[in-house]
Amino acid sequence: MASTAAAEPTRRDFIHVATGAAGAVGLALLAWPLIDQMNPSASVLALSSIEFDLSPVQEGQQVTVMWRGKPVFVRHRTAKEIAEARSVPVSSLPDQLARNANLPDSAPASDQDRMFKPEWLIMIGICTHLGCIPLDHQGDYGGYLCPCHGSQYDTAGRIRKGPAPENMYIPPYSYLSPTKVKIG
């Protein structure tokens, strides 16, 4: 390959380029299985939905259920908590998107768009900062306080103060009957 820059490509040049190109494509094709094997496997994906009975949860109480290895908070909100959450203008919130998997991505973070029924907040109980589990009924807003880095959420699970960038996520769920929900 010590030819001058202006020389015509030879048949040997062509073979070098073709070999290199075939090798690069082959490597890329082989790389994908090696990368994709780390994604959630079929057995992990299979555990994708659970059912939960709301009737034992008293007003003012919260229970935690596991869904896909994550805690889901089921909170029976009091009338006072609902009123507090509904009185906050969306424009004053740090994250103004509902983060509700049951609504379009652009839905606003109003209390109504965070849940189907005002008494029942059903939400993935993971702080959007670095993944800790917030403590319920704590913090300045009566909602949640994350013990790791001090993020505070209101009674609708919306971020109000601290380093977390987003409201806590609402998982896909639906009511099978007035007291039974299916999460996932």
């Binding site: 959630p40 992990v44 896909r68 994550k70 589990i133 001090g150 380093p163 960038p165």
Partner: protein, 427 residues
């Protein structure tokens, strides 16, 4: 200084081997006759100590892997089994867990020594950058290893650190979450995560060993820097590595190992968070999550920034900054012995890192005990100084500082005159 080989095979077998695989010649030239500046002090013994600690970690780690089970339902119990039932399991595990701390202790001394004596400057830039790569690999390995006992701290450290990648969501929506789930192999830290962390924790030390070989190779091309920071001018400035530095290194290694043994035998849990003796529980976050002591300064930087993505950038930027140090320092003089201003900023940086370490162990909303003074402003100030030292102070000092005169040769400085002839060492 990598001059001509002086190796002469003395027996028939070594002559035969030398013509086929000159491994004895290589060993002789790199570890025996290698010309080394005659003025290396105590602080230069940590390279050897680090090699020793890497060996300790690999040997104890391989043995522990014979008993450890990388499964979310069995990992914690298998570690307890190592501690209680495996013969000398307690010793091996305490050596391994405290070995990580001593490895980092040695690497911090080694790094600050390099900073003080300007060991990163031309022609040793590649040597320094290889060192930074080793340090980053050490951090990754230590983090992966910390997850394996599957206690509360293990689980939540894994959760917090992998969630750093979700900050990508703020620039590329959903990408960060996808990357994080790819790292987890699920929708949260779980069994697949533990299994792959074990695999990588076993792999990385051998990668480190490979980069260490490159690091030593890059050291042996220009030869050692020294406390005066001046170049070796001739044979009167050097002594052979063996016996002068083999013995010196061995002496300080012995002292270091005594310290290590004291901790392993008498204070084996002094550096451990008690929460890590509680099995991992994905539903309960411990009241306070802190990393091991050697990562606290970086954790303080992360927590001092109220915005998630910027916090993560500041954290990784603090590591990346080290790569650029050879070009950020504009001074012609290597050693800070002759740099009256740089020396002061250097000690301030060391204190700054200790302060950040202290602050990193406390919640961001904490106050200094007994005073009511909040810690957060200090964490921000400390973070700012860390960056300012490398990106502002080092480049400016080279322009405004008047260094003191450096000695003409190492021999002049050591003996008071340049004419003294070193006793020619026997080969």
């Amino acid at each position: 200084m990598a001059g001509q080989s002086t190796y002469v095979p003395k027996t028939g077998f070594t002559r035969w081997l030398d013509a086929r695989l000159p491994i004895l010649r290589f060993t002789n030239d790199t570890m025996m006759t290698f010309p080394t500046p005659r003025n290396l002090n105590f602080w230069y013994s940590f390279g050897g100590i680090l090699t020793f600690m890497l060996g300790i970690q690999i040997v104890t780690g391989i043995v522990l892997a014979m008993h450890y089970v990388p499964n979310a339902s069995m990992a914690f119990d298998s570690v307890e089994n190592i501690m209680r039932d495996v013969n000398y399991g307690w010793l091996l595990r305490y050596m391994h867990s405290n070995g990580a701390s001593f490895f980092f202790l040695a690497v911090y001394v080694h790094m600050f020594r390099g900073l003080y004596y300007g060991s990163y400057k031309a022609p040793r830039e590649v040597l320094w950058i290889l060192g930074v790569i080793i340090y980053v690999l050490m951090i990754a390995t230590a983090f992966l290893g910390y997850v394996l006992p599957w206690g509360q701290m293990s689980f939540w450290a894994a959760t917090v650190i992998t969630n750093l990648f979700t900050s990508i969501d703020q620039i590329l929506p959903h990408t960060g979450t996808a990357v994080t789930q790819w790292l987890w192999g699920g929708f949260a830290v779980g069994d697949p995560t533990l299994n792959r962390f074990f695999s990588l924790h076993y792999l990385l030390p051998f990668v480190i060993a490979g980069v260490v070989v490159l690091h030593i190779w890059a050291l042996h091309v220009p030869g050692n820097n020294n406390p005066l920071g001046i170049d070796v001018k001739g044979p009167q400035d050097t002594v052979p590595f063996h016996p002068y530095y083999t013995v010196k290194d061995l002496f300080y290694l012995s002292l270091f190992v005594i310290l290590f043994a004291i901790v392993v035998f008498y204070l084996p849990n002094a550096l451990v968070e008690p929460d890590n003796y509680v099995p991992a529980n994905p539903l309960v976050t411990p009241p306070e999550i802190v990393p091991e002591w050697y990562l606290l300064p970086f954790y303080a930087m992360l927590r001092s920034i109220p915005q998630k993505l910027i916090g993560v950038i500041v954290l990784f930027g603090a590591l990346a900054t080290l790569v650029f140090v050879p070009w950020l320092d504009t001074s012609k003089v290597r050693s800070m012995r002759f740099r009256p201003l740089a020396k002061q900023f250097f000690w301030a940086l060391l204190l700054d890192c200790v302060l950040l370490g202290y602050l990193g162990a406390h919640r961001p909303d904490a106050v200094f005990p007994g005073t009511g003074i909040p810690m957060l402003p200090f964490a921000r100030l400390g973070t700012a100084y860390y960056y300012a030292f490398f990106w502002v102070i080092l480049p400016l000092l080279g322009l405004i500082e008047t260094p003191r005169p450096v000695p003409a040769t190492i021999a002049t400085s050591v003996t008071g005159s340049g004419v003294e002839q070193v006793n020619a060492p026997a080969e």
